[in-house]
Symmetry: C2
């Protein structure tokens, strides 16, 4: 089939306007092709553009057993009082507080034990003057009682109880609705269902709740040279490490990866592209974003939809591209593993989280650089580094493919495009990897 | 069956010595029972004792597809060079750098294109003087070439190439082994397999690696009054919110929960206790840690094994207990949801992580309290609070069962046992919930 190729016709770097591409025969625009990567979109503009294309992927009812770390898609009002009844907060004896007034260890009051009540039991006895009911923590306060005296302040023999302290009405009782009442809003739409949240949802009477769907993410790793890990390589074979690192990055964003590998063939890439998009909510590709005879992903995206970003002022990760195809986002990452990871951290993770209802802001921390870091105006650098107390040490990195640098580092130093670098000991903005996790 | 009950015979609060229990008929030691919860172990001693009982739960080989966030149980040495060959870092032309010396756009050098090489292809051509080979990013540098000139600095027409810049030997080439070499140690035992780590493991040639097993955690929620969530409760029924919150806490520690519910019956608790211990690496219970007729869990633990902790200087969460039964740890948490969560955060999470090879230290941050916080010498308080910039605001909490306070808060203020409180505006130690997550 004829292979269309794109010319960059208009571009404005500010405010997130869309880049316009036109499909022209490759020969006509040969000279323009190289412009693509040199008309770079500022990182912040690219982020804004991505956010403006962000939509959640729908909602579903989910059983409470399955909602860990999912995001609530409804305001939730309690169906119940919690606790549902006046409840003993201690092991002891339910009684009428007034009967203990003025009493102490030297002047105890004598009562009759008329019932014994474990958690889960309700007493049929209506408590009268001179009576007490033994009660376990969590059991409903019997009718006629208004306080609980702790077991430690009593002596008992058979059905005779001696109370050696005074209690006030309400003492050691958790009143019905103390935590929340029927009809109270207990959680807002957008709440993340961590252990305390799921506890409160259960206590409010819900067995299932409406949550945002987890995004299904097609991942297409392109590259004819890529093979699964093995201990002997032949010819030009390279191990497909992106298969694993991108898969795990998607999982770390609590989304569901659907992995495939594709050789650098326009028709095959196009076919897989459509298959993955049909089965998933979005698509991530690696490789094929620069301009060479084997780099076809951006061309396929342009044929099938609209390429809105191709090339950003980011290092590493300049050849990041983004398209919307069949109303679904397509994130095109570099083939180089480190560049792909940085592009994911800068552009993709927050969108995958946003698609499932997470709302959060990343916060930089400030550290003093252990050495001078050069940078270039107009480019955002993500420098792999290690935090050392109040200081941060940028790693010395030789090549762009150096995956070891990601393992050895625990944070990025982010040099934004207004900076020409920082001096030794000067403050810089740091993003710990840990803070990226949900 | 006869139900043994325990007397506390010796106890020393310091250095983590074991508490000794003796099985005596309940009538003999009635007065001593109440001592249990008032001979409390300091929180730090309890933590040390738990750590001293910590062992990893064994290792297994795992396919790289399944190792996300698991911990490596071997030092890993690369089986391969990475990259495995001298590799082009750019799209362009492989050539002999010396032929470009002194050339520029005004004085270009003319070469013949003798092959074209995509990623995944190896050239059979041995490059000679006057020749160039078109090469894609990632392709192996052809024999005879020592540099790559970027496509942007060339013009080509059919097989004629004009190079308009000079390159130095090695330019735009990633040499074999630049990232790491065969035999290099690439990851140490104990490394967490996050996306960068799994990328490097794949690149080193491994399809599977030795990892620590995830702990299988039996969870027994006790309480005759507990029912699954529903919108109408009857009698003394209380919703079993611990089923969900403890399950998710175990999941948040990357362990595998095996949930059950048991009524407050000694024989049933004993049977479930043994079943769960047999099928799992450890056991968590909720409820039944205080002393009342329905509270049987600690008694069962004492019959089957050795109770090492019963009661700690923690608020909330005082009745925490810990036993070793059949050489497996048993964590006995309160029935009250908030107390159970705090006990999990203080005592259990780090052990579950340690059992699967995680090594980490929790770090407090310092914030200024928005108001006076009273505390008591000799007791460690975990106060639910919210971070507000450089300040931290303790929540006002009425009752001990108030699960809403966990949802409304985002951190603990930790008042250790040496503190009698802090004044308004004074510094205090804060543990953000986020920092507890792996």
């Amino acid at each position: 089939m004829s292979r269309p190729i794109l010319a960059l016709l208009t571009y404005k770097g500010e405010g997130g306007q869309k880049t316009k591409y036109s499909k022209l025969p490759i020969t006509v625009i040969k000279e323009k092709i190289c412009m693509f990567l040199y008309e770079l979109m500022p990182v912040e503009d690219a982020k804004k553009l991505l956010k403006s294309n962000l939509r959640t992927v729908g909602v579903e009812m989910a059983d409470l057993e399955e909602v860990h770390r999912r995001v609530l898609a409804q305001d939730l009002f309690s169906l119940l009082d919690s606790p549902p009844f006046d409840r003993s907060a201690m092991d002891g004896y339910a009684l009428q507080a007034e009967e203990t007034f003025g009493h102490s260890v030297d002047n105890p009051v004598q009562l009759d034990i008329v019932d014994r009540l474990g958690a889960g039991n309700v007493s049929n006895v209506d408590l009268k003057e001179g009576e007490a009911i033994q009660i376990a923590t969590g059991a409903p306060l019997p009718s006629g009682a208004n306080a609980v005296v702790m077991e430690e302040f009593t002596q008992s023999h058979q059905d005779h109880l001696q109370v050696e302290t005074a209690v006030i009405p309400g003492e050691n009782v958790s009143p019905a609705g103390e935590d929340f009442k029927t009809g109270d809003m207990i959680l807002r739409q957008g709440s993340v269902l961590n252990p305390p949240e799921v506890g409160i949802v259960a206590s409010a009477g819900y067995r299932e709740v409406k949550v945002y769907k987890k995004p299904a993410v097609g991942v297409m790793v392109t590259g004819s040279e890529l093979v699964m890990p093995k201990s002997q390589l032949e010819g030009a074979e390279i191990i497909n490490s992106n298969h694993f690192s991108v898969k795990f990055m998607v999982e770390s964003a609590l989304a569901v990866p659907d992995m495939t590998h594709c050789v650098d063939d326009y028709d095959l890439v196009r076919r897989e592209f459509l298959r993955l998009l049909k089965n998933n909510d979005c698509l991530i590709t690696t490789g094929g974003t620069a301009i060479s005879k084997g780099d076809v992903v951006v061309d396929v995206a342009a044929e099938l939809g609209e390429v809105l970003i191709h090339g950003v002022t980011l290092r590493p990760g300049k050849p990041f591209a983004f398209a919307v195809v069949e109303e679904k986002p397509v994130f095109m990452l570099s083939g180089f593993p480190v560049a792909a990871m940085v592009q994911f951290d800068v552009f993709v993770r927050e969108i995958l989280l946003g698609m499932q209802g997470f709302k959060r802001e990343l916060h930089f921390i400030t550290k003093n650089s252990t050495r001078k870091i050069p940078s270039t105006l107009g480019r955002t650098d993500y420098i792999r580094a290690r935090i050392e107390g109040d200081a941060v040490r940028p790693l010395k990195i030789k090549g762009s493919g150096i995956i070891k640098s990601m393992v050895d580092s625990d944070c990025y130093i982010v040099m934004d495009e207004n900076l020409e670098g920082v001096g030794s000991g000067e403050k810089c903005q740091v993003l710990p990897y840990h803070s990226l996790q949900v």
